[in-house]
Amino acid sequence: MSAALELGINAFKEQIDGPVVAFFSSCVRCGLCSQACLFYTETGDPERTPIHKLEPMRRVWQQEYTFWGRLGKALGLSRPVSDAELAEWEPLVYDSCTLCGRCSMVCPVGNDIAYMLRKMREGMAAAGHAPEGLVGATKRAVTLGSPMGVKLPALQTQIRHVEQDLGFKIPVDVAGADYMLLLSSMEIMNFPEFIRAVARIFKHAGVSWTIASEAFEATNSGVQIGVSDIAAELVERIVAAAARLKVKYVISPECGHAYMAIRWEGPNLIGRPYDFKVLHIMELLDQLREAGRLRTTGREVRSLTYHDPCQVARRGGVVQQPRNLLKMIANDFVEMPETGTMNWCCGAGGGVSSNERADGLRLQVFKRKKQQLEAIRPDALVTACSNCRIYLEEGLDEYGMELPVLSLTETLAEHLVDKG
């Protein structure tokens, strides 16, 4: 066995816990997970059945953790997982899965397949079978502080320009602020209007906040590729900055996996609880709304629908808040068929959009979201994840659909009573 393969198999073994054993033990091959997965429904390829994506890890479980499996292995009767198999599985694990977790919601025996697939990526990455795009992003995240190479001076320049326009300062490195805002590189590069919108809302609501120059990056590539050590290091940077600035809350911006990484995985990656709380920007905005600190005016005439980013809603628990916020400013809010925690993935999360090899497949599976939209024909689509946003735009463009895609935060900012 090569060294890399051995690392991979060991990583699989390490990742196998009680839940994983319960899940593998319970799978009766009913195939219901396939009809919940957009990578199956839009391609009809049985290899994309969620539980099948886990097959190499299942074999490791069987051979290392079950009586019969261990006996078979000792007698030389079992077929060990090979490097070639891991290579074969790479597109199933990384191109054909966004960790959206819809499969986990429908399995009749209760298997949390997305939970397992996240763990499987640890073995795949250790064995050297992760996509190029993700490997590059992760390297940049570690060495430059951002998977997209966004360095502090770039952010500072943007901040200065926004300050000039708004006529007030954006707090950076303010010790004792209540909230420390993280930003995803996707936002900084592709949707920097978010910074302006957030600054205006926070000023309006009188929020005590800051950005940390040493830890402004929200995206955690370690979580997407499946290298917990790197994921932990990226979280530690945020934790250190939060401690240095003595903030009470860390705010995760409009990004899906960033929220999952900092809110739910983070403390477990670093092996201890935080000294601060984590909120998704929508959670904070909804709290402000409830406290009457968000005063909006005017209502959207057009009909709006909401796309639930999978890591925020189904896997993260922030479901009702965006709806509360939208109802403040919408006259006509319409839910997608199969919505909330059962909404369909945009097809681009979990590292899929970083993976050029997956482009064709990603556009193909967008048809599922297209179907949802065609059923309700809204005038605009709102979401709270910049990755979803741009890849929803791309999908819509691919299929010739005219539909503006909006950020929830930016849309709210547009309706603030103090126009800026």
Partner: protein, 150 residues
């Protein structure tokens, strides 16, 4: 004689324009930063947008092309970003805003075009290191004032 000195006045003045005039002034914002975009499709789209007599189908086609260009130009999630190329992306977004029908951008197409144009300039500043905060905004106030006074 109208003068604009801050964003509040800027926005109010823009919002008071009808859809066609918003398109025309937005186009001027885009033209101000057009050199930052190397994709010829945007230059052509801007020419259509600048034509006061452009018909519906020409505008729709130009919008479609501008949108496609935006998607081609954006930095892929996790890919190494290049701020000069991002400048081109923002110019494309500004062109999209200029060509978008009012119903799809109730917040104001010209305002959005202005914002995106500023971001294009900011992207360039990130690369050049020059201190240009507020310069594009000032230029836009000037452009709008001239447009209103014409």
């Amino acid at each position: 004689m109208t003068t604009i000195t801050n964003d509040r006045e800027f926005r109010v003045a823009l919002d008071s324009l009808d859809a066609k005039r918003q398109r025309l002034v937005a186009t001027r914002f885009v033209e101000s930063v057009l050199p930052l975009c190397t994709d010829g499709r945007i230059a052509r789209a801007v020419r259509v947008a600048a034509d006061p007599d452009a018909d519906y189908s020409a505008l729709t086609e130009a919008l479609r092309v501008a949108k496609a260009t935006t998607l081609d130009c954006h930095t892929r999630c996790g890919a190494e970003g290049d701020w000069l190329e991002q400048a081109g992306y923002f110019v494309a977004r500004a062109a999209v805003a200029a060509l978008t029908p009012r119903c799809q951008m109730p917040g104001g197409m010209a305002w959005q075009a202005a914002m995106s144009s500023r971001m294009a300039q900011t992207s360039k500043a990130i690369v050049s290191g020059e201190e240009t905060a507020g310069q594009e905004s000032e230029a836009q106030y000037q452009i709008l004032a001239e447009f209103l006074n014409a």
